[in-house]
């Protein structure tokens, strides 16, 4: 299973890399699938609200409403209808892609189980919303879908037998049925919005909207599609005739041919099996090596600055009233069930500086599996043990390329859970210990395994976020490479940094530091 997921992950990295080259990494649509799905949902809702003004909730009026829009001589109706339809289709497709991408990246377990489960439910809601929208057009496709859905539902013990009788004869159908459909079609997207709010509850600084450029380009693409390839109704629904060939919207109506080809019961079992399999995925435990203890607060060293709260990508740290009677008003508290053990909070902690004196180095918040004191000790010992100069230090993220093979007599490789776990003062410290250059390597830009690590590192090094890298540190000796699994990018960055740093350090002499 792990091998399979690893292969998928590599494939995802490949797709992401390709999109990164065509788009700027920050505008890579493959990285914004969830946000793009949200954009399409909002587009479909906004156009739906306008279209509702033209919609007649009656048996005769429903079909005419669709025609009125599609035949609008000014093309505004065509644009409106096409945007509504294609945004809904895109929303379904993007939701599924978003779900698949998160699955390939293993984002269904650990603290992400909550977003994963709510995401599965949301995908179902998107599907239901779209199907009910197609019924409202009341053309031959709508009649087929409504009948087929009713037939599919019949096998469940829900008393749905009578639903199918609504569409047997013209006399069986009345205007109130369309009022009910409209109520459902408006209610489900509202439920979706509420669901999305729940979906991102355990994520700090959730990226709800794609970058502005992607928003504009996506809307332009949908508008062009709506005008060039208009969404049109089939013939009016006629219960006395069944047309032989239908043009289906396969994003939503794929289930009907499936029921026809297999059986209603089989498709229900398949759907239940798929949902159960997806829902049970969070129970797949990661390899023992990947299981890490959650962050721990040491009150004696916590000054209540709340930087860990600001930086935690999963909202796992909060501030509480002080319990140890010190002069500080607040103290950090870790919610163990929300903590991903990424260590980003350690990187944000002002007490996690290696320049602190004292017998033992203890930070206000720390990772029990890789305490900051051990990182400092390893840095001191291993850097001193490097036999050749110029000495380079490579801090690499465990989720990016495996850099251990790059360790050599001049290069020290230290692997961290996340690049943002490294307090910027460690860069300064490594340079003072005699390193000629420090390279930080991590996941692709915008693709941090822990969501915000690359952003925080970037802002800390630029001095935009605390704790920042001291201004006096020569930037020529520091480099950052967001490369994911592209080890060759790290090689290149390391070689460039080495050349650059050697010039910079030509006149510098390393200082000695107390043990």
């Amino acid at each position: 299973m792990e091998t399979f997921l690893h292969t998928l992950r590599r494939a995802d990295e490949g797709v992401t890399g390709s999109f990164d080259r065509a788009f700027a990494p920050a505008h890579n649509p493959w990285r914004h699938l969830g946000a793009l799905a949200f954009l399409c949902l909002v587009t479909a809702m906004a156009t739906g609200i306008v279209a509702y003004a033209w919609y007649d909730t009656s048996v005769q009026g429903a079909y005419a409403s669709g025609l009125r829009l599609q035949n609008d001589p000014l093309l505004l109706g065509r644009l409106l209808r096409g945007l509504h339809r294609y945004a809904a289709d895109a929303c379904m497709l993007l939701s599924v892609l978003h779900l698949l991408r998160e699955a390939t990246r293993g984002h269904y377990r650990g603290v992400r189980w909550y977003s994963w489960l709510t995401g599965i439910a949301l995908a179902g809601l998107v599907w239901l919303s779209g199907v009910t929208g197609l019924w409202l057009l009341w053309d031959a496709r709508a009649l087929f879908s409504l009948s087929a859905t009713a037939e599919w539902l019949r096998v469940l013990p829900l008393g749905a037998d009578l639903l199918v009788r609504n569409v047997l004869t013209p006399a069986a159908l009345n205007d109130r049925f369309f009022s009910l459909l409209m109520f459902v079609h408006i209610g489900l997207p509202l439920l979706l919005l509420a669901g999305i709010w729940i979906h991102v509850q355990r994520i700090a600084l959730a990226r709800m909207w794609p970058p502005k450029a992607l928003v504009l380009e996506t809307l332009a693409m949908l508008a062009a599609l709506a005008l060039l390839w208009p969404a049109v109704s089939m013939g009016q629904a006629d219960t006395s005739r069944v047309i032989s060939v239908l043009s289906l919207d396969w994003f939503y109506l794929f289930v009907h041919p499936l029921v026809q080809a297999l059986s209603a019961q089989t498709v229900w079992w398949m759907a239940a099996g798929l949902v159960a399999a997806l829902a049970l995925m969070p129970l797949l435990r990661p390899a023992a090596a990947a299981r890490r203890a959650v962050a721990r607060v040491d009150l004696a060293h916590c000054n209540g600055c709340a930087r860990c709260v600001a930086d935690c990508p999963f909202g796992a740290v909060s501030m509480l009233a002080r319990t140890d009677l010190t002069r500080h008003a607040l103290q950090a508290s870790v919610h163990s069930d929300l903590c991903a053990a990424c260590g980003i909070c350690v990187g944000s902690c002002p007490s996690a500086t290696p320049f602190r004196s004292g017998e033992a180095m203890v930070s206000g918040i720390d990772m029990p599996d890789t305490p900051i004191a051990r990182i400092r000790r390893d840095l001191q010992d291993k850097l001193a043990a490097l036999p050749q100069s110029p000495k380079m230090v490579l801090f690499s993220c465990r989720h990016a390329a495996d850099c251990n093979a790059r360790a050599n007599p001049t290069t020290l490789v230290m692997t961290l859970e996340c690049a943002a776990m490294l307090p910027p003062s460690f860069i300064d410290y490594a340079l003072r210990l005699g390193a000629a250059g420090v390279l930080i390597a991590g996941c692709r830009a915008g693709d941090c395994e822990y969501r915000l690590g690359d952003r925080w590192v970037h802002e800390r090094l630029l001095g935009l976020r605390e704790p920042h890298l001291r201004a006096s540190v020569s930037r020529a000796q520091v480099a950052v490479q967001w490369c994911g699994d592209q080890i060759t990018d790290i090689d290149t960055a390391l070689a460039d940094l080495r050349a650059q740093a050697c010039q910079e350090t030509a006149l510098k002499t390393p200082i000695s530091l107390p043990a």
């Binding site: 999109f19 065509a22 037939e151 043009s247 289906l248």
Partner: protein, 172 residues
């Protein structure tokens, strides 16, 4: 490190990516076409909701039985609520087309039995015979026969309405 593309190449690739996405959305929103029936087929839909007869007749409780009941439950008549299953036989041109026995709904089996079946049949003139048994004796108490000419794609609905004397044949 992969050499970055020139701006022209990047914009071209972006346009191609959007065009490909639009093509996928546009195509699968209506295609490939789905065939829901054969070229020369009509559709028959058998659908009704009907309560069968009570399975057991009411009977008088004797004094001993009444004495065993709570005072507020001492009704002189015992009328079981369970209804008989509804059995349908549908023949087309003298051949059995569909047979079904539907149980009454409800925990006490005292509700209506519902039947729904969609069948694709060859277009043309057909003679239909529909029979329904709704009593415990299992005998067909309702029967209706009809000869009808069905065009390709035409729908015929067979309903059962007791108030209308039994089976009702309607063209969709």
């Amino acid at each position: 490190m992969a050499k970055p593309f020139s701006a022209l190449v990047r914009y071209s690739l972006q346009c191609a990516a959007y065009a490909a996405f639009a093509a996928v959305i546009g195509y699968f929103s209506t295609a490939p076409p789905y065939r829901q029936r054969g070229e020369n087929e009509a559709v028959l839909k058998l659908s009704f909701s009907h309560s069968g007869q009570l399975r057991f007749a009411c009977r008088q409780r004797d004094a001993a039985e009444l004495a065993k009941l709570q005072p507020n439950m001492r009704s002189a008549m015992d009328c079981p609520r369970e209804r008989a299953a509804v059995r349908v036989e549908l023949d087309m041109d003298g051949q059995a087309l569909y047979r079904v026995s539907a149980d009454p709904m409800g925990l006490q089996k005292d509700g209506a039995a519902t039947v729904y079946r969609r069948l694709n049949i060859p277009a043309g003139t057909h003679h239909f015979s529909a029979g329904l048994a709704d009593a415990a004796d299992g005998l067909i108490h309702y029967r209706k026969e009809l000869t009808v000419d069905l065009q390709a794609g035409q729908v015929i609905v067979i309903d059962f309405v007791t108030g209308s004397g039994g089976f009702v044949f309607t063209r969709g």
